[in-house]
Amino acid sequence: MSPGMDQLDEDFFEESFESIDAMEAALLRLTPGTADAEIINTIFRTAHSIKGGAGMFGFNEIASFTHTVEALLEELRSRRLQVTTPMCDGLLQSVDVMRSMMTEQKNHLPLELSVAQVLQAQFRQMIAGEGQPRSAGAAQPPPAPAGIEAGIWHIGFQAMPGMLARGNDPLRIFDELAGLGQLGVEADCSAMQALDAMDPADCRITWKLTLTTTVPRSAIDLILEWVEGDCEVKIERAGSVIGAPAVSAAPARGVVAAPDVNIRVAIEKIDELLNTVGEIATTNSMLAQLARDFVGVDADRLRSGLAQLQRHVHELQENVMRVRMLPVGSVFSRFPRLVRDLSSRLGKQIRLQLSGEQTELDKAVLERIGDPLVHLVRNSIDHGIEMPADRRAAGKPEQGLVHLNAFHRDGSINIVISDDGQGLDTSKLIDKARSSGLIDTDAVLTDEQAWELIFAPGLSTAERTTDLSGRGVGMDVVRRTIRELGGSVELKSAHGRGTTTTLTLPSVARARRR
């Protein structure tokens, strides 16, 4: 039977959020004034699939908004428009809008459309070319390659299981193909199942399409590319409308679905598995205990068998835990955008360096370290890195550096957030701590003790007065969260040279005990 609609919705949202993240990451690589076709194509395809999915699920507002975004991207893709800074900003904002619309839709909340409407109007103006530099030769449509005559293409189309559920409907693909010329459609329903045995999400109809068009093969490929992996497509050139009869058939391109090396598994299933393995381990220990005093002919064999079982169970436990591990890059990926937005808002120049993104952490830990990391990175941008003029005066390059690094050390996972900013002024910190009664007025503190003050609730609040860091998460909360995960936070700073915060997180085994 078909998967429940709730599950389909769930999958749709999960995949859409992933697409939105991918679109954002690609947009951040887009440089104004350049025309990197590969990046633009990636963004375009992502927007297209979000639109398709949203339309398919009846989320018309999202589909309509994404349609406008896609229209603007089409202008970039066809080089009729050039990438500009306002365009990049607008497109990045559109990602935020899509994300929040998607969240609202998911939570059955009314959609907030005001920003979307403003952006849509902006994009339409851009498409109309108001105040935008048009690319050279934009007035004329791209010239048709000389000597191209109307070709006849035979396209065999077979949906793969899951195609419909992923929001890719053959109907839409055929509509797009029909936009290229004249499309003849012949359906073969012989493989369809009976009504009572049918899974509606599994499309068993296959098609033979005949497309007569003057556009080159690449235009057909482009449309089918969007559903690559979701269907099997065989394209053959059958001939031309005018000129010589059949050109010898071009090698057919079988869009063979890439072998699926990953599967999506609900975390609960893994946890159930882990719990069962835990139970087996407990039972195993109990039996080993019993067997210790066992007397008999086969007692030794029993004990050695149990010891062997214990090793295997332990191995199994570790392997199951490893399934829950995800690369820390999934959390790091939100920082390029954050750094870009904050630094431009503050007028600072900041380069973000990410390393060790492949370092794996338990999913539960990853989900909880996001906010603390955001807080630490914001601190670095807001309080650490100086204004360009101040940096120049201090003999530093105008562009500051924020570095996020993850790595394994001594069986733990370390995440280090460092910057080359102004560092902590320990004397100022001590003064503040004295005046707020955190320490005695005559107390003498080492640097290490002074740095510790930053984690005191009262003081950290007093330190953060800008809107950037005022998110209700102070350094005290950062430390508490990390401690709850069984880890620790350590901060080191050199006045004028920067601050380094190290999060030490436990290995998987303990990490799971949230």
Partner: protein
């Protein structure tokens, strides 16, 4: 349900049309909802499974949205009727239903003649 005038000339069709107007014991009517997409496919499948009759008169005049999943279910319904030796008649088909059916090349198999009101297979 408006009766196509041409049917009056054909005794068999006239009987069927009369049957639709004054339902005989084995005639039954099925009205499709406005949305017949994958989203509604479970409900659509159940209602198609529950529909029976000879002829089974299907009213697709109110269909506003339909996709491949919805059309595939309708094809399965048509085939079930055929295999059971029963008739299926369309008393109405919305432009959207026709347009999508045509795009997927399913007009003939659904028994929806292009243009006018389709007859049953």
């Amino acid at each position: 349900v408006s009766r196509p005038a041409k049917r009056a000339a054909k005794p068999r069709s006239a009987k069927a049309a009369t049957a639709a107007a004054v339902p005989a014991a084995d005639t039954s009517c099925l009205k499709l909802g406005p949305c017949c997409t994958l989203r509604e496919s479970a409900d659509l499948q159940s209602s198609l499974l529950a529909a029976s009759g000879n002829p089974l008169v299907v009213d697709g005049g109110g269909v506003e949205r339909i996709d491949t999943a919805g059309l595939q279910l309708l094809v399965a319904l048509v085939r079930r009727q055929q295999q059971a030796g029963r008739r299926l008649e369309w008393c109405a088909a919305s432009p959207e239903l026709r347009k999508c059916g045509e795009r997927l090349g399913l007009i003939a198999v659904l028994g929806l003649a292009v243009g006018g009101e389709g007859d049953g297979p």
